[in-house]
Amino acid sequence: MGELSDAEDDLYRAVSRLAAHGPFVEVLAEAAVGLSVRFDGHATSLQAPPRLRGAVFRAWTRTGWTESSVSGLDAASLRYAEGAIERVLAQRPAAQGPPGVSSTARLEKVTPTPRPMRDFAEEEMQSLARDVFSWTTEVPDIRETQVQLGWREDERLYLNSAGARCFQGICRVRGAILPVAMESGRVGPDRFVRGGVGGREILDALTPESARRVAENARALLKAKAPPSGKMTVLLAPDVTGYFAHESFGHGAEADQFVRDRSYLKPMLGTVVGPEILTIVDNGAYPGAWSVIYCDDEGQPAQRTVLVDRGRFVGALHDRETAAALGAAPTGNARRSDFLSRSFVRMTNTYVEPGESSLDELVKEAGYGVLLESGTGGIEDPQGGQIQVKARRGHRIEGGRITDLISSMALSGRVLEFIASIRGLSGRSDFALDASTCGKGRTDILPNSAGGPYLLSSAVVGPA
C-alpha cells in the first residue's frame, strides 16, 4: 500500500469517532499514480494523474444516507469531512442501522503483473507511441493518426465501523490507435483499442499488423456506401454485442432501477426472456479484464453474477440496499467513480457468453441484412425497455454473403423483441471484451468493459 498508507491511522480513528454518533459509518480513501502519452505527429503530450488524494465518509442517519467528501488526507482535511458528518448525525440520529449487510471483509490485493508499468519510462512510452504512429501512417491516405498510451494505478482503501478493511491497487493499462483517412473531401475514421488490468504486456497488442489493419479499415471507409434503413436482420460483431449486453441486461438489471420501480425487467425476474443459447453475465472478477475490481466500494468482494441463464432472466446487480430491499445478497457492484462521487449499482465486465456457431454459419443464416462493426456507444431506456447501439462501420449481407462496406449507423429496438429474435451466437474464438467507460446519468464515469461473440438478431437500423 503505497499512496494511502500514511493516512490509514487517521482514517481509522475518524471512523471510530463517528461510530460513537451513529450505527454505521464507512470511509473510502483514494489515490492514483500513472502516466499517459499522446502523439499525433504534430504534438506529443504527457500527463500524469493529478496528485490528488481524498476520502468520502458515509453515515446512516434517521432520514437515510449522508456523505461528505474532502480532497486531502491530512488530519485537518479529514477533520473537516468528519465534522460535517458529525453535525448531520447530531441533527438526525439514527435509531437503527442501515438496510442490508455491512461488509466485514478483510482484503488486500494488488494487480499482479510480471512487467509493471511503473518500470516503463517516459522515453520508452514515447518511443512506442512514435513506432505505432509510423506503422499506421505507412498506409496510403492516412492523413491523421493519434496514438494514446496510458496507465493508471488506482489505490482504494475501504474501512467501516463493522470492522471491514479492504485495500485494492488496480493498474489499468490502455493503448489506442485512431487513424483518419482522407481523400477528396471524404473522411474515414476508425480505432483500435486494447485495455486491461495488468502491466506492459497489455500494450503488446499494439503491433505493426494491428496498426496497419486499423489504418486499412479507415482507408476502406472512404469508399463505404450509405447503410440501409428500416427493420432488418442484424449481425453484431463482438464489441457491438458487448454494447447490446451492457445497455440491455446490464443497465436493465441494475437493481436500484428495480427499487425505484423504473425497470421494465423487474416483473420478469425468473421468467424466460430469450432463446436457450443466450447467457449474459457481469463479472467483476474476470481475470485481466479492463473493469476488474477486487471488491466494490461497500467492501463486498467482486464476483461473477449470471443475469440471463440459457434464456431465463435469473439475477440482478446489487449493492447492500437493493439486496436488502429485494431479498437478495450483495453482488459486489456498488461503485464510485472516485471519492468525490456517490456510489451507485454499476456494472463491471458484462458480456454475452459464446455460442457454438461459426461466423460463416451466422452469415448464411442471416441471408440478407447488415453486419455492424466497430461499436461507438449505446444508451439504455430502463423504463421503456429500448436500446440504442451505434457502429462506426459495417457490411451488407446479401444472399448469405458479406458484401459492400457501409458507413456508420444506429440500431434501435425493444430489448425483449431483440432478444426473442436472437438466432445464433458464434464460438469462443470470436469472443472479445472491450475497454471503455460508462456513465450513470450525465456524470459518474468509470471504467467499464463489455463484449461477447457475433450475435444474430433483428432490429431497426438507420444512418447515424
Binding site: T66, G188, R260, Q388, A464
Partner: protein, 469 residues
C-alpha cells in the same frame, strides 16, 4: 469577482511561490458541492459539502521552434507539494512538444473580462437550504398527479471560485455557480394501454430555478405521457424540425470541433471562406451569454471572452484559438481555452486537466420563420424531434444520429401523434459541396432558446434519414 478573495484564491497561493525561468500558468479552483438524490418521492441521499480545492500548473519550455508543454494537477498546497507538482510539470515539458514557435500568454491588462452573469447569489450563500427548497417545490409540482411521478433524479449544485495567474502578470478570478438537474419523469397511464413511459430531463444551468417548476413539470409530464403512447416512425427521408434541446447535442460537437486551431493543425478544418451551410446558417461562439453554463468573464487561460462569428450566412468566417494554437498559426487567442471534459462529458471541476481549444456557447442567429407553429406548417409532412437518445456526432465525418426518444409526426402542417423508437440521423457538417444538416436548413425559427451550450431557435431541415418499422 467579489466571490474570489485574493488571499485565499488557489492559483495565487501557488503562483506566488513559483520560481523558475520557463513561462508558467496556474489555474486554481476552490469548490463546494452539494447534492440531493431522489428515488421516487423520497430523498435517497444528501451529499455535501464535497470540498475540493486544487490547482494545475502548466509549464511552457520553448526549444528549437517548438514548445514543450508540461501539466500537473494537485491539491497539495504545502511548499513540498507545490515543488513536487512543479517538478512533475517540468519533467513532462522536457518530453512533450507542441508545434508553436511561441506562446502568447495573456497579461494582466484587461483580463478581468467584465461582468458576466454566472453566479446565483442565493445558492452561493445558502446552498443546502436552496437545494432543499428546490426539492420541496419539485415534490409539490407533482403532488396530486395520479398518472405521473418522478422515478429518480438528482439536483447537484457546484459553487466554484476560479482563479488564474501566470508568469507575465495575469491575476484574475471569478465566482460561479452551476446546477445540474437530472430527472426521470414517469407516466403510468391506466391499467389498459401502453406500458409506462419515461421522459428524461437532463439540464445544466447557472441558476436554481424554483419559480418555473410548476410549468416545467407540467411539460415534462406531457412529454412522458407522449413517450408512453409513442409508436415507431415510418422509414424514409423526411422533413425534420429540431429545437435547441436536440441541436445542442449535435452542432457544438461538430462545429466546435472542426472550426478550431486544433483542427487546423491536424488538417481537418474547413478552409476560411468555405461554404458549409445555407444562407440561413449564421453561427456565433459567445462566451458571455447570461446564465449559460459555458459563459464566464475569461476563458480557462484568462483571456476575456467575447462573441466570434464562426459561420456567416453559411460561410466559414472565424476559427477558435487558445494560446498554444494561436502560436502555431501566428494569430491571437480568441479566448477559447476550456478545461474539464472527461469521456465527452463536462466535469464539475476543471483544474485536473490542461485546457483544450473549443467553443463556449454557440448561438445560431434567429431567422424569419416565426413561431414553432409556423415552422410545423412549413414542414407540412415530417417529424418534430423533441429528444434523441444520444446523437453522438463524429467530429471527423460529421455523421450524427440516434434513437428517437420522443418525436411528433407532422401531418398536413400540424403536430399529430407522438413517436417513440426508430432512428433519425444524417451528416451535420460536410465538405463544401456535399449535403448536410447545415446546407439543408430550410427555415430557422425566430425564437431562440438556450439549451446547454447552444442558443438556437428550432430549425426545419429537409430531409433527414428516418428509420422505423
Amino acid at each position: 469577482m467579489s466571490a474570489v478573495k485574493p488571499g485565499t484564491a488557489a492559483a495565487f497561493r501557488v503562483g506566488d511561490r513559483l520560481t523558475g525561468k520557463d513561462p508558467w500558468e496556474v489555474f486554481g479552483e476552490r469548490i463546494r458541492r452539494y447534492e440531493i438524490h431522489l428515488s421516487g418521492g423520497k430523498i435517497e441521499i444528501t451529499r455535501g459539502p464535497i470540498a475540493l480545492e486544487g490547482y494545475g500548473i502548466r509549464i511552457f519550455r520553448p526549444r528549437e521552434g517548438v514548445v514543450g508543454v508540461g501539466f500537473q494537477a494537485s491539491n497539495d498546497f504545502t511548499d513540498a507539494g507545490i515543488r513536487a507538482t512543479l517538478e512533475d510539470a517540468e519533467r513532462a515539458a522536457r518530453y512533450a512538444s507542441f508545434p508553436a514557435p511561441r506562446v502568447g500568454l495573456p497579461t494582466g491588462r484587461g483580463a478581468t473580462g467584465g461582468i458576466v452573469e454566472v453566479l446565483d447569489r442565493g445558492l452561493w450563500e445558502y446552498p443546502m437550504d436552496s437545494l432543499d427548497r428546490f426539492v420541496h417545490a419539485l415534490h409539490g409540482a407533482f403532488e396530486g398527479r395520479k398518472q405521473e411521478s418522478v422515478s429518480f433524479g438528482s439536483v447537484r449544485a457546484t459553487l466554484s471560485e476560479t482563479s488564474i495567474c501566470n508568469s507575465v502578470g495575469l491575476r484574475t478570478g471569478y465566482g460561479h455557480t452551476t446546477v445540474e438537474l437530472e430527472l426521470g419523469v414517469k407516466a403510468f397511464g391506466g391499467p389498459e394501454g401502453p406500458a409506462p413511459g419515461e421522459f428524461w430531463v437532463d439540464e445544466s444551468d447557472r441558476r436554481l430555478r424554483v419559480a418555473e417548476l410548476g410549468v416545467r413539470a407540467s411539460e415534462w409530464c406531457r412529454y412522458a405521457e407522449d413517450v408512453r403512447r409513442g409508436r415507431p416512425p415510418p422509414t424514409g427521408e423526411l422533413a425534420v424540425v429540431m429545437p435547441s434541446s436536440v441541436l445542442s447535442g449535435i452542432l457544438p460537437a461538430v462545429l466546435g470541433g472542426r472550426l478550431t486551431g486544433a483542427a487546423e493543425t491536424r488538417h481537418v478544418a474547413p478552409p476560411h471562406g468555405a461554404r458549409l451551410g445555407s444562407d440561413l446558417a449564421t453561427v456565433y461562439d459567445d462566451g458571455r451569454i447570461p446564465w449559460a453554463p459555458m459563459s464566464s468573464p475569461v476563458d480557462d487561460e484568462g483571456v476575456p471572452q467575447r462573441r466570434r462569428t464562426l459561420l456567416d450566412h453559411g460561410v466559414v468566417s472565424e476559427v477558435l484559438y487558445d494560446s498554444l494554437h494561436a502560436g502555431t498559426h501566428d494569430t491571437r487567442s480568441t479566448g477559447s481555452a476550456f478545461r474539464g471534459m472527461l469521456a465527452g462529458f463536462r466535469t464539475w471541476y476543471r483544474f485536473l486537466q490542461a485546457p483544450a481549444v473549443g467553443p463556449s456557447t454557440l448561438s445560431l442567429a434567429p431567422g424569419d420563420a416565426g413561431t414553432d407553429t409556423e415552422l410545423v406548417e412549413a414542414a407540412k409532412d415530417g417529424l418534430w424531434v423533441q429528444q434523441i437518445g444520444w446523437s453522438s456526432p463524429d467530429p471527423f465525418t460529421g455523421a450524427f444520429g440516434g434513437e428517437i426518444r420522443l418525436a411528433y409526426r407532422i401531418r398536413n402542417g400540424r403536430l399529430a401523434e407522438s413517436i417513440r423508437g426508430g432512428t433519425v440521423g444524417g451528416v451535420a457538417l460536410a465538405a463544401e459541396g456535399s449535403p448536410s444538416l447545415l446546407t439543408r436548413l430550410e427555415r430557422v425559427g425566430s425564437r431562440p432558446a438556450l439549451s446547454e451550450s447552444l442558443e438556437a431557435p428550432p430549425v426545419l431541415v429537409r430531409p433527414l434519414s428516418v428509420a422505423g418499422e
